[in-house]
C-alpha cells in the first residue's frame, strides 16, 4: 500500500532522513516511535509531499514518486498521492473561519466536487462517529483540544483516504483529551483503516500497532511486532529509549 525505499532528506547540511525503507500493507497500523528529532514527522511530511526529499523513492498504491523539481508532472503525482492519504496534525490545523461541519465537508466539496447536501450528509455521519454531532454548527475555537482533534480526524476520513497519517496526534493534549482521541484511533484501527502514526503514547503503540518502527537519527533502529519491540528489543538504544520514556 505505502512503501519507501532508501528515503533521504536534508535540511541544508543536516541529514534528517538517512535511508528509510519500510512498507505498510492495506489494513495495517504502523506506529513510529523514537526520540524527538529522529525524523518521524519529517518522514510523514515527505510521504504526502509537504516536504520534498532528496533521494530514494516513495510508492503509494500504483503511484511512485522520485525526488525532482516541482514541475507539472511531479505536482500532479503529489496531488494524486495527497488524495489517497489523509493527514492529522499535532496542532489540528482546523480552519478557524469555517464551522465544524464545513471543516469536514469542505474536502469532498472542493476536491471531489461533491454537491453540498451530499457532502454535509457524509460530514454529519463522520461527526457522529467521532461523537461530536452536537458541535457541528460551532466554530472550532469553541471546542476543546481533544474535540478539535476528533474533528480533524473526521475531516481526514471525509476524503475516504486509502491511509491516514497521524503526526503526533495527542502531543499537545492533556491526559483526559489524549484518551478520547486515542479511543477514536483504536476504533479506526479495529475497522481496518490503514494508518501510520507517530506517537509518544507507548500503551497505544503496544495495543493497536501491527508493526512498530523505532526512528533515531534519521534511520530505522529496528522494527517488528509490538510484543517484540516492547518485550525483547534487539538494540540497546531501543531499550534505553523505552526505559527513559517509561520513567
Amino acid at each position: 500500500m505505502i512503501s519507501t525505499v532508501n528515503l533521504v532528506k536534508h535540511f541544508g547540511s543536516l541529514e534528517v532522513l538517512r535511508g528509510i525503507s519500510l512498507a505498510v500493507n492495506q489494513g495495517e497500523v504502523a506506529v513510529i516511535i523514537g526520540p524527538s528529532g529522529g525524523g518521524k514527522s519529517t518522514f510523514l511530511r515527505c510521504l504526502n509531499g509537504l516536504e520534498t526529499f532528496d533521494g530514494g523513492e516513495i510508492t503509494v498504491g500504483d503511484c511512485a514518486l522520485q525526488p525532482g523539481e516541482a514541475d507539472r508532472p511531479q505536482r500532479e503525482k503529489v496531488q494524486k498521492i495527497r488524495r489517497r492519504l489523509g493527514m492529522v496534525f499535532q496542532q489540528f490545523n482546523l480552519f478557524p473561519h469555517l464551522s465544524v461541519l464545513d471543516n469536514v465537508a469542505i474536502g469532498p466539496r472542493r476536491v471531489l466536487n461533491m454537491p453540498r447536501g451530499e457532502a454535509n450528509e457524509r460530514a454529519k455521519g463522520l461527526l457522529a462517529r467521532v461523537g461530536l454531532s452536537e458541535k457541528m454548527n460551532e466554530r472550532p475555537s469553541r471546542l476543546s483540544g481533544g474535540q478539535q482533534q476528533r474533528v480533524a480526524i473526521a475531516r481526514a476520513l471525509a476524503m475516504q483516504p486509502d491511509a491516514i497519517l497521524f503526526d503526533e496526534p495527542t502531543s499537545s493534549l492533556d491526559p483526559r483529551m489524549t484518551a478520547e482521541v486515542l479511543a477514536v484511533l483504536a476504533d479506526l484501527a479495529k475497522s481496518g483503516q490503514t494508518m501510520i502514526v507517530t506517537t509518544h503514547a507507548m500503551n497505544f503503540a503496544r495495543r493497536a500497532a501491527h508493526r512498530v518502527y523505532v526512528f533515531q537519527d534519521g534511520v530505522i533502529l529496528e522494527s517488528g511486532p509490538p510484543e517484540q519491540i516492547f518485550e525483547r528489543p534487539q538494540q540497546r538504544a531501543t531499550a534505553e529509549f523505552l526505559r527513559e520514556t517509561a520513567a
Binding site: G86, N93, I106, R110, S141
Partner: protein
Amino acid sequence: MPSGLRRILLGLLAGVASLWLAPTARADRLDEIKQRGELVWGGDESGGAPYVFKKEEDGKYYGFEVDIADEIAKELGVKARFQQGEWVQLPAMLDKGDIDLALNGIELTQDRQENYLCTRPYYVYGLQLLVRQDSSIQKWEDLDDLKAKGKLTFGVLEGTAAEEYLKKRYGADLVKSFDNAKLAMKELEEGTISATLQDDCFAIYFADDYPKIRFVGRPIAPGLYVGMVKKTEPRLLAAINQALDKMIQDGRLKKIYDHWDMAGRAQVVSLRNAAEIKLAASGSDIQKILLNSFPFLLKAAGMTVFLAVASMPLAILIGILIAIGRMYGAWFVAKPLSVYVEVVRGTPLMLQLYFIYYLLPSVGISLPPLVAGVLGLAINYSAYEAEIYRAGFQAVPSGQMEAALSLGMTRRQSIFGIVLPQAFRIVIPPVANDFIALFKDTSVCSVITIVELTKQYEIQFQNHPGALVQLAVVTGILYMLMSYPLSRFSRWSERKLAGKKFTGAHGQVAPV
C-alpha cells in the same frame, strides 16, 4: 457627540477665529514698503508669457507685468520683487501679508472689488475663441450646432472670466478646466476638446507656437485686469493708482505694451474709456455665499465619494493578486511585482495621474478623466494594499495551507479558499484606514480636470474670496462627515478582531 469629534470641531473654530482676528493689527503697509525699500508683488510664473515668465538663461523674470511692477515700484521710490505663488492662492497670500500687491491677469469682478482694494485697470482684455485648423467651426454660431449634436467640449483656464463665460453660455458640463492655459491648448491640438477660450493677449502672443490652431472671430466680452491690495491699505492703493495714472499719461505704459507687441496705443485709448466696461456680478453676503456654494460643494462631495468607492475595491483586488504573486509565485512573477510595488509607492500620486492622463494619449491610449482618476487611485493604492495583504497572508499560520493541501486541494484552492478568507479578516482595520486616506487623496484628481470637493472649494473661493475661511470650514466638515463613519468602522472592526482571536495553529482557546 463623541468627545473626540467635539475636540476637533472646537479646534477648527479656534483656528478660524485666530485667522479672522490676526491680520487686523498691523502698521500701514505703504510705510513698511518704503522702510524695507521693496515692493513685493505676487504672480504665477506658470501662467507664463507674456504676463510673467522666467528665462532659463539668466533665471530672471520677464513679462509686461514685470515691467509694470518695476515702474510702479520706481514711482514709490523702491525696488520691485516678484514673489511666486499659485494663481488661485494670490488672494490668500494678500490676506496673510506675504505680498503687498497681486498683479497677474486678475480680472475685475464685483466680488473682488468688495473684498479687496482693486487698482485702476492697467489692461483691457477680450476673450478669443480658438479651434483646430481642420475644425468645422467658422463662427460662434457654429458652436450651437455642435452642441446640438452633442459633440461640443471646451477646455479653459480655471478661475477665469473665460471659464465663467462658457459655463454660463453652454453649461458647466461641457467645460473642462485646467490649471494651466497651455494644457488646454495641448488638448485642443490633440483634438480631445473642440475649442478653447483664452484671453486675447495670451492667444496672440502664442499664435505662432500652435500652428494647428486658428482664431475664430474677434475677441468678445471685454474685461479689465487690475492689481489687488488688502482692504486695510487705502494709502498703498492710492499710491499705486497714482503711479499707474502717471504711466498712462507719460506714455510709459504704451511703451511697455509696444515692447511686448500688445498694441500699446489701442490699450491706452481703451483704458481711458474703461469706465464703460461692466463687471461680472456676484454676491457678497457671507451667508448668501455659503448658501449658494453649498449645493456645489455637496455635488462635488458626491464626486469624491464616487472616486473613493470606485477605486478602493479595484485597489484591493489588484493588491491581493500582487500579494499572492509575491508570496506564492515563482521568482519571475515575484520579482517584477516587487519592482511594481516599489515604483508605485516611490512616486507621487499626482505624477502618476499626470502620466496616465497627459502622457498615455501620446502612445494612443486616451482615457476620459474619470476613468484615468479611478485607475490612477487604484494603481497607487494597490501597492499599499499589496503590502497589507502580504502581511495578512504571513499572519495566517502555515499549518492552514498544509491542512488544505493535505486534503488534496490544489495550491490555488488552498490560497483562495482557506488562506485568503482568513487574511481578509486580519487586514480589515489597516485597509479601512487606507480607505480613509484614499478618501482625502481623491483631491489630487483635480489635476486632471475632475471637479471633486477640494477643487470645488477652490472654485468657490475664487469666486468669493471674502468667504475663503468659511468655505474651508464647510468643506472640512463635509470631509469629516464622510470619513468619520469609516474611522468608526475601522476602530470597531479592530476591537472585534482583537476580542475574537482565531486559534488556527495553537490548540488552546485564548480566554476571551
